[in-house]
Symmetry: C2
């Protein structure tokens, strides 16, 4: 009953490389790797027992699906000139409106991995949430069955929801990292041990998952200790990033927790 | 060689209660509990086999040390009228300049637990970093030996460093929580599953500890994808808190990673 599934991979960057290697490992054969830059395309093709192509007119015409893993801005540019009408084009972007693929093929889908996938990292695929979408039921089922074959943790979301998920992902991943690395720099400049903050951080994170949002807020702003906030801001005179964050967050927490008193 | 150690506890709030109960459990006898509000003072006194007092002139005169666990603003108010000259007064504040205790006794110290201690929570004391300070070597040794007896993870820092640590703690604990609970609310409003972000978050945190600060920044701002940032800000039109955070963080990340290009 199961048909042989094969894929052509368009783009051999972080996401394309990681998925191609996993597909290959799990028995999905890779018909070809297309990439603008030769070296990375050849290297991936070798790793997945496939061929590298650089001309758009050499794209295979018999792959079960065409996985496009490119930056949002490049999709239209790269797909132009490839004959993929009636082929299933699957993109991997968090923010691309899938309908934009319509001009190239009415059969489109999405397989968005919500995780940082770095080319040569060892990925724990159990820790990647995938979101899928397709232009028709049959292709949605096909993408779902590929996900099951790969033992992915996946859900269906439409492009609108996926865009919002992507905002949440950017905020969670990049902003938490920015906040923490700013604090780490402050610690290093002041000869304090950033590692000591690990337990505090874990507590905050656990609270955010276990309790209702906002209910476990602690600290000077939540108890309206304006004097301490002012002292802290004075001490941050030379750390403009942390000072701006301190000001904005304190303002928001004060407003959230004391608006009724103002 | 070891002298019998005893303590009077001034303040039966979250920190006073947790430390008093631990002291008692570890064989430091509690001479008295002072607290303005009766019910909580009596309840703690019972739990640690001690007496409750509400009059300042009944403060015991023979405790090894007097632990003051109050909000910063109350220290001076509460200590006024207690005869503690020559007694070792130990406060627990992250932000109090210890020297401010000088008018009450020249023997002062600090035992600052850098963790959220909620009155009736089960605290894992291995996950609390303590910072100590004292006005003289002998009392510093005494506080150190109490910490050892209690198997605390502790270090010495002066008031200036402790204030900066406190800023780091507030930023780590309260701001991470605020960021995450804001994202959680956004997810709930948009029918997205906040739990799905757990792995992404863990990756960011691990990166902040394992790598050099700033080196692992990812996301639209770090790759200067201004178009995506604008799209995200448009989608956040109705979420003013997350929008403000998104704007500030993107601005800072752009500046940090692309200043040389501007």
């Amino acid at each position: 009953m199961e048909k042989k599934i094969s894929a052509t991979i368009i783009g051999s960057g972080n996401v394309g490389s990681q998925l191609a290697k996993l597909f290959f490992k799990k028995g999905i054969s890779i018909d070809a790797i297309y990439n603008k830059h030769k070296a990375s395309g050849i290297s991936l093709a070798k790793a997945v027992n496939s061929i590298y192509i650089s001309e758009k007119n050499r794209i295979p015409n018999n792959s079960t699906f065409y996985l496009v893993a490119l930056k949002d801005d490049y999709y239209l540019e790269i797909l132009k000139g490839m004959d993929l009408t009636e082929k299933l084009i699957i993109h991997t972007s968090g923010s691309l409106e899938s309908k934009k693929i319509n001009p190239f093929s009415k059969r489109w889908g999405c397989l968005y991995p919500m995780q940082t996938l770095i080319k040569n990292d060892n990925i724990n695929w159990k820790e990647v949430a995938f979101y899928i979408e397709a232009s028709n039921n049959e292709d949605e089922k096909l993408i779902g069955s590929v996900c099951k074959k790969l033992e992915f943790n996946f859900s269906k979301v439409n492009s609108d929801q996926r865009k919002k998920l992507h905002i949440s992902a950017v905020s969670t991943n990049n902003f938490t990292y920015h906040l923490l690395s700013t604090i780490k720099s402050f610690c290093e400049e002041n000869d304090l041990n950033y590692e000591d903050l690990k337990f505090l951080l874990q507590k905050s994170i656990d609270n955010s998952f276990e309790k209702e949002a906002f209910s476990m807020q602690t600290g000077p702003a939540s108890r309206k200790d304006l004097k301490l906030i002012e002292n802290h801001l004075n001490l941050l005179e030379n750390d403009s990033n942390l000072k701006e964050i301190y000001e904005l967050f304190s303002k928001q927490i004060l407003k959230k927790h004391h608006d009724h008193e103002l």
